[in-house]
């Protein structure tokens, strides 16, 4: 965004002050001195000694370990940390692009406050002291007037210590409103909760699996930790390992993942549950399932009687009754012999994994479908075995007592058996100020007005909150709607912490000191929160006595020391040694004091627990039965007390299918909107972030040589029918509106289905990010009934040349 400068502002700049600069439009993306306006800065040629430092990537939740090369105080190169157990020296393009994020010319440079209105903002640059005083005054006022519960933090779903810090702050302050956005894995999370009773995502031991059956998961793109998944993919074909692993991708689109799979099952979109249950049909009828596991560790496989003597349908009856091969073939569009063969392979190449955690398919927002896929793991006994589905240790300590007096705003709707996922309802509660209004909302490096399907609802919600603070490194749509925007230091400029990514079975606590000093006047949001706690004093300060995030991390390191387990990051062979010892009951640390541990964590990159403990069933399954539940008793309890739940699922009250995996009814296209739109997440833009970095823009659509714009993938036959040629500029229109795109004919797109990449189309922020269109502007995100997760794959569109 070019900087519109008034005469007054120009003169004030000339005087060396930017305090009175008034701008029309969004948050200034770069507020610099006079020289910045008159001439581009000279190229910076760094000088000074060379050094290497350890860092942690912050460009996606995987938090890969980094080694950063500096010349003087300038970071010039990023590569992976070979000692980090997750990425083991590898790095994906996002990580490498970290330098572009660090030295981006459009970074937010100093705190700004909106002294105008939300409709017509006027941004005034202020100091951090002023910003903190503003926030402290508000917080103090709210707390003293008994309204502490009206302060909320909106964060992404994270497992690192930053999230815990913000939760601790809120808890000590007196609010339960630590609110989190969707992660893309919400359907799987829900399924695992219903079937295993655990509240964290499972880990998939892909490297040791013999057969990986993926239902649309973008394994080789952005899912979980791209680097560690690609490493596992390489090992599947390693002749030295003495085995090979077959990888089958069931997906309607020929994604890069599908293209690299051993086999691509091009099923109809939205029929993943049917395919999974069809495979279950084969396993059951041919007795290929693990009978011992079913007998010893599951509930609800067979029909069963409740305490009142009523018989309930079990999984076997459901599958045999409704998912016969012919019907499955007809529904999915796959040949019956293919389904038969894949089912037999899945059963015979153990350990096998079925995985269905997706953004890029209609399984997103389908917990029943995710349950169907996860049921396959139970059928072949792949729960809690090497090469199967593992349950990482849950290491979250509590945030202290007592609990805040008012419950969180998103738990009072009580519309679902599981709360915390219905972001539409959350936004509606905030907008309607029911059951209470929020007075202050802190956005912790999130941009819901851009990234969330329920963005319109969040827009209305923002309007109902009197004071919004945004911590962000770049201007974005949500910060443009805030009242106070605070520039966040990047991951290379602050003390950084990284946990294990979802799908990694071991506990990881990575730590890195700042690699470079913060640029401009940016700060670590965690330091800011700790400063707020200190300024508030009393109980809040006592609960968080740490001067900065470094001290907070040090506390965690001391806890790790007390646990007397695990090992500091080390070369692979040493890691294997630590694993061998620990699995046998020995612990041989390289440190003998807490100080030594802290120093080694910084030097090597962190600490981890290298051993997975099998057989701890009370950790693996926490359902009412203590077993894997094909038939979810949690759903049964909910359904019995909420009659509307059945009709919301299109079922009759008391129907056992409510508690079992099943294929949901799929909406159909109409004459006006004949094409199904399925947004896709591409690696460079994972998390809807990355479009502001040129490296990533350049490689976004490599399979089509498409970049720097939104491309619409359309099947050639469909395109021909519509008179669309490759490269045509088109409009893509749904009931909600329309966006522009460039048509790209792609044989990997199914006839009648089109795809737009997520992550493009920002309306605020860096120039490079303001290209293309946001598919979420088209998506009709209907919350599903179980957890309220937004379904993003049920939107139908039409396209025409512009």
């Amino acid at each position: 965004m070019k900087l519109p400068v008034t005469r007054r502002g120009f003169l004030q700049l000339g005087a060396g002050s930017i305090a009175g600069l008034a701008l029309a439009g969004g948050v200034p993306s770069a507020l610099g001195g006079l020289d910045d306006l008159l001439a581009p800065p000279p190229p910076h040629v760094p000088g000074g000694p060379e050094q290497w430092k350890t860092g942690i990537c912050s460009l996606c939740p995987a938090a890969c370990g980094l080694r950063v090369r500096l010349i003087g105080d300038r970071a010039v190169h990023i590569q992976g940390n070979s000692l980090h157990p997750v990425n083991q020296g590898g790095l994906c393009p996002k990580g490498i692009a970290g330098l572009q994020a660090l030295y981006h010319p459009d970074r937010l440079r100093r705190p700004v406050r909106n002294i105008g209105t939300r409709e017509k903002p006027e941004w005034k640059a202020i100091s951090w002291d002023e910003a903190m005083a503003l926030m402290t005054a508000r917080l103090r006022d709210l707390r003293s007037s008994g309204r502490a519960h009206t302060v909320a933090v909106l964060d992404r779903r994270r497992r690192d210590l930053r999230g815990r810090l913000f939760r601790e702050f809120l808890h000590a302050y007196g609010s339960a409103n630590y609110l989190r956005l969707s992660s893309g894995s919400d359907a799987l999370q829900t399924a695992v909760f219903l079937q295993q009773g655990i509240s964290q995502l499972p880990a998939y031991d892909l490297e040791n699996s013999r057969y990986v059956l993926s239902f649309g998961v973008d394994l080789l793109e952005g899912w979980s930790s791209p680097v560690s998944i690609m490493r596992a993919f390489g090992r599947w074909r390693d002749p030295d390992s003495g085995r090979s692993t077959k990888f089958v991708q069931a997906e309607s689109r020929l994604s890069p993942t599908a293209a690299h799979a051993d086999e691509w099952l091009a099923l109809r979109p939205g029929t993943e549950a049917t395919l999974a249950l069809g495979i279950a049909y084969v396993l059951i009828t041919e007795r290929l399932f693990d009978a011992d596991f079913i007998r010893d560790h599951t509930f609800g496989f067979e029909d069963w009687k409740d305490a009142g003597g009523n018989t309930h349908m079990g999984f076997r009856t459901l599958v045999l009754g409704e998912y016969g091969l012919n019907r499955v073939a007809e529904t999915t569009g796959l040949a019956p012999e293919v389904i038969l063969r894949v089912a037999r392979e899945f059963a015979r190449h153990r350990p096998a994994i079925a995985i269905g955690d997706v953004q890029n398919s209609r399984l997103a927002g389908d917990p029943y479908g995710a349950m169907a896929v996860h049921s396959l793991n139970a059928l072949v006994g792949s729960i809690d075995v090497s090469g199967g589905v593992l349950v990482p240790p849950d290491v979250e300590p509590g945030v202290g007592k007592p609990a805040p007096s008012r419950p969180a705003i998103d738990s009072t709707a009580a519309a679902h058996p599981l709360s915390g996922y219905d972001l539409s309802a959350l936004a509606a509660s905030i907008a309607s100020r029911q059951p209470y209004g929020l007075e202050m909302l802190i956005l912790h490096e999130v941009d819901p007005l851009f990234t969330e399907p329920a963005r319109d609802a969040f827009k209305r919600a923002f309007q109902a909150v009197p004071f919004i603070v945004s911590f962000s490194t770049f201007a974005n749509e949500s910060s443009a709607a805030a009242d106070l925007v605070l520039p966040a230091a990047t991951g290379l400029e602050r003390w950084q912490h990284g946990s294990a990514p979802d799908s990694f079975a071991y506990r990881v606590e990575a730590v890195a000191a700042p690699v470079v000093k913060p640029r401009y006047d940016s700060r670590d949001p965690a330091d800011a929160v700790l400063a707020l706690a200190a300024a508030l004093g009393g109980e809040v300060a006592a609960a968080l006595p740490h001067a900065d995030f470094q001290q907070y991390l040090r506390r965690e390191a001391d806890r790790i020391f007390s646990a007397e387990t695990g090992a500091v990051f080390a070369p692979a062979v040493e890691q294997a040694w630590d694993r061998l010892l620990q699995a046998s009951g020995w612990w041989a640390p390289t440190f003998s004091t807490a100080d030594e541990l802290w120093a080694q964590m910084q030097e090597k990159g962190g600490w981890w627990e290298p051993t997975y403990y099998y057989g701890e069933w009370q950790r693996v399954c926490r359902t009412p039965s203590g077993r894997f539940e094909f038939y979810s008793q949690a759903l049964r309890d909910w359904a019995s007390s909420h009659p509307a739940f059945a009709s919301a699922n299109g079922l009759a009250p008391g129907d056992d299918a409510l508690c079992l995996p099943h294929q949901r009814k799929l909406p159909e296209a109409s004459a006006d909107y004949p094409l199904l739109l399925m947004p896709v997440e591409v690696l460079p833009f994972v998390g809807a972030e990355g479009a502001h970095l040129p490296y990533l823009e350049q490689i976004a659509g490599e399979h089509l040589y498409a970049h720097w714009e939104s491309w619409l993938e359309i099947n050639p036959q469909t395109a021909a029918r519509l008179g669309i040629a490759d490269g045509d500029k088109i409009w893509v229109e749904s009931r909600r509106g329309r966006v522009p795109a460039t048509a790209r004919l792609y044989g990997g797109a199914r006839p009648g289905v089109v795809h737009l990449p997520l992550g493009l189309g920002q309306s605020q922020g860096p120039d490079w990010a303001r290209r293309g269109a946001n598919p979420l502007a088209l998506v009709e995100a209907v919350p599903e009934p179980v957890a309220g997760i937004a379904r993003t794959g049920d939107t139908f569109v039409r396209i025409y040349r512009s």
Binding site: E574, R579, L580, S592
Partner: protein, 420 residues
Amino acid sequence: MTAVEQGPDAMTVTANARFGLPGRGARQRALLLAVLFTASAAAAQERAGYFIPGNPKAGMSVFFAKGCAKCHSVLGEGGRSAPDLARAPGDHMSADDLLATMWNHAPTMWERMSATKVASPRFSETEMQDLFAFLYSVRSLDVPGDAERGHRLILEKRCLTCHAVGRQGGRTGPDLERWTQYRNPVSWIQTMWNHGPAMRATMAQRGIEWPVFEGSDVADLIAYVRKLAPGDRKKVYLRPANPEAGRAVFKTKGCISCHSVGGGTGGRRAPDLGSSTLPRTLGQFAASMWNHGPTMWGTMEQAQVRQRQFTNAEMADLIAYLFSERYFELRGNAQRGASLFQEKRCSLCHQAQGPGPDLSAWAHASPATLATGLWNHGPAMLERMHQQNIDWPFFRHGEIADLLEFLRRNKPPKRTGGAP
């Protein structure tokens, strides 16, 4: 070498095995170890007390760096096309046995390497020493047990008559669930040992046979109990043990009054604890102590000797000491060695007029040093033997020790030249 450089392990590196000790003391002990190791090949073969030469952590690096892991695994880490060297063979192996096994399989390995176009690695003495230390250490580790088998055992051994696991079982003894935090079978045996006499009396009253544990029994029982436990307890491990301290425990607890170790000082009333017939892993070794508990306590009672209790660390140190001793083979029999020298046809090459080197230079070499020679010169030796129609000799347990004893005492006459 400092503690961090050498790295800890369960039995070896006595100098640095226990962390938390003063750095200066650790460096002194490291120096002592280094002196002992580098003293000479001759010294290395002598029983340098209970010091096991080599660094097992470095040895694991050697295992991977030299390509052993391309075919072999150790407890699942590594390749799958050759045996898991931590599990096979199943019996205890001293350093001599490791050498013999390596020797016996060497031709097969070289053949396989040649077929797959992999160059046979060369080793330095240090590398081989470390590799031996690694293989010896890793073979002593207990693997996690089988919970299903553990379930059968807990019923078969009637543990639940007195002990509960969670909600099921007796209340005479403590609930075993609270022990699930202890990850090491040695810890379990230590607690059981301390309570053994009381348990013995109760079992006798109830007509319960003394449970004897073999193989993976203890690990299996622990796996079963852990399965029923919440699993979120802090896990307690044993720190690397100190064989030097274990030697002291062996004396102070009075074990030495009945047992000797490797034919050394000690009693003769009870078995020599350096015997190679004793179990392979640390946990199994501790379990065998339990198995003989009633006999031992009975003997102690008769001798009016108080039954000794152990702390966790003491039990670990004692086991480590005994394991360290077992690394070294008992001295062989020179007479048998002489027969072997002929029988294995070593004399054809390694004689006064033979083409092979004078083996007297190797008479005092450690098994690891000999293994170094095997790998570095073996392929050429094999080739020569094929040409001369000589079978590669196969060594059984003890034969290496006999051969070396023979060589030590009977140096072959020096060659004065001339064609073989």
